[in-house]
Symmetry: C2
Subunit: 269 residues, 2 copies
């Protein structure tokens, strides 16, 4: 519980010294925008996204910078190699980040959901594609707008660093999984991870604490995420099922019967 230098709670105010190509601070007629409640005010994921760095009384400026966009399931709204013109923040739904090989093989590097930031690119092009799995709603920011936001609210960029840092840790974890774990361990790790995002629903019978995991993605997506074929996913799920560790839940979900055993099977002890 120590003060993290790089990430959380950075109090230091400092003037961002970037030449912002003519963009200057006071763009706002604050009174007018302030009157009506900004759309950001009612945004649930705002609290966990990097937007939390914007104080309540400044939400109007945040709202003015971003445009809310709906995306249909299956639609790609970011393409590897395309010009990186926008940043996105997911406000609703689930999407997948993926990289492709020329021959069509693909690897999903992560699933993103509420509050996740998209569009970090070190060059002028995106290095991966993003495709909506469920119905997705997101906030789009042009690069200049986002730059302006960072200039106005330096804390935002600090939160972004913390977020990138978090993703790096997850990526390293995934590399360990892909490089060194067996199919059963991969699937177990995957389920344990998603179990952590679901609240445990105590069984009415009361015998054991079960966890219902909603899996929005297809078997094919799971395979592309875990580096295995769809058939192997199916077979391995069955193995876990006959072992009594999990059970199929209605509507593309999985009911975890024995989290402890699942964790043991994940290889992480």
């Amino acid at each position: 519980m120590r003060t993290a230098a790089t990430s959380e709670h950075c109090n230091s105010r400092f003037g961002i010294e970037r030449r912002d190509a003519g963009l200057s601070f006071p763009p706002a007629r604050p009174s007018a925008a302030q009157a009506l409640p900004s759309k950001c005010a009612g945004c649930g994921p705002r609290q966990i996204a990097i937007c939390a760095a914007v104080p309540e009384q400044e939400l109007a400026r945040l709202s003015a910078a971003g445009i809310s966009v709906p995306i249909e399931p299956g639609r790609r709204f970011m393409e590897e190699g395309e010009a990186a013109e926008n940043f996105f923040i997911v406000t609703n739904g689930t999407a997948k980040l993926l990289k492709m090989l020329p021959d069509g093989r693909q690897q999903i590097t992560s699933f993103v959901g509420d509050g996740d930031f998209l569009g970090l690119a070190l060059s002028t092009q995106y290095s991966y594609s993003v495709e909506a799995i469920t119905q997705v709603r997101l906030c789009r920011f042009s690069r200049p707008r986002m730059r302006q936001l960072f200039a106005d609210f330096p804390l935002m960029e600090k939160r972004l660093l913390a977020s990138a840092c978090h993703e790096l840790v997850l990526a390293q974890e995934q590399m360990l999984l892909l490089g060194r774990k067996s199919a059963r361990e991969r699937l177990a790790s995957f389920l344990v991870h998603w179990a952590g995002k679901s609240e445990p629903t105590s069984l009415p019978g009361g015998s054991r604490k079960q966890i219902l995991v909603k899996l929005p993605m297809s078997r094919s997506d799971i395979g592309d995420y875990l580096g295995m074929q769809i058939e192997t996913v199916s077979r391995t799920l069955k193995v876990l099922k006959v072992a009594g560790v999990i059970a199929t839940a209605p509507g593309w979900g999985v009911m975890i019967q024995d989290l402890a055993r699942l964790q043991a099977l994940s290889g992480n002890v």
Copy 2:
């Protein structure tokens, strides 16, 4: 270059030319220790590390914050799970980042060299270990010192974000490799990547442009990096050798005979 957004053209390992002509820094009382030449002044990797955000006349403060430390080959100077008390910047040598499974299996998530930053942790603990491969020299910064540096030189933190961003891209590339590529493709990709770090040595015979790649790490390290066994590394190298794509070089190096074919074999076309 082009209009710079948050992390444009920022590359932690290679030159970042975000020079800030006409930028003013916060208060910064003029250092008294300006007289003697600071050790940072003669530091080669400084230009490519996040230290490049510190202007020349302020190098004394940078020098005061960091402590230069030598590390013997094979020595671990960061351990997964340990309290994250320090940040490091590699000024010389090569080290490996690794994550371990309880049963001993391990995955190397990346190799780091001159100018690379280490120690980003989102919690109070390191999420991976770092072990020196060659003789390594690095600069150690305590968290409070680093925090102070970030407060004094905000550009440093921006460069850090760019660096983390770059590592994320590399991590995604590696996930694609680990999840979807065959052994031969992995090794080819690995060699192509390291060939990019070596300057091509034109063959005296003049027949073809060859590239001598110095590989400081062992076969075991290569295996742990590419997610394959050491025997498979050895066998696959031989396959490439008899195919005439590479040749063994004296002193643990590899001579790339046909970069084009190697790239074709890497699966990236």
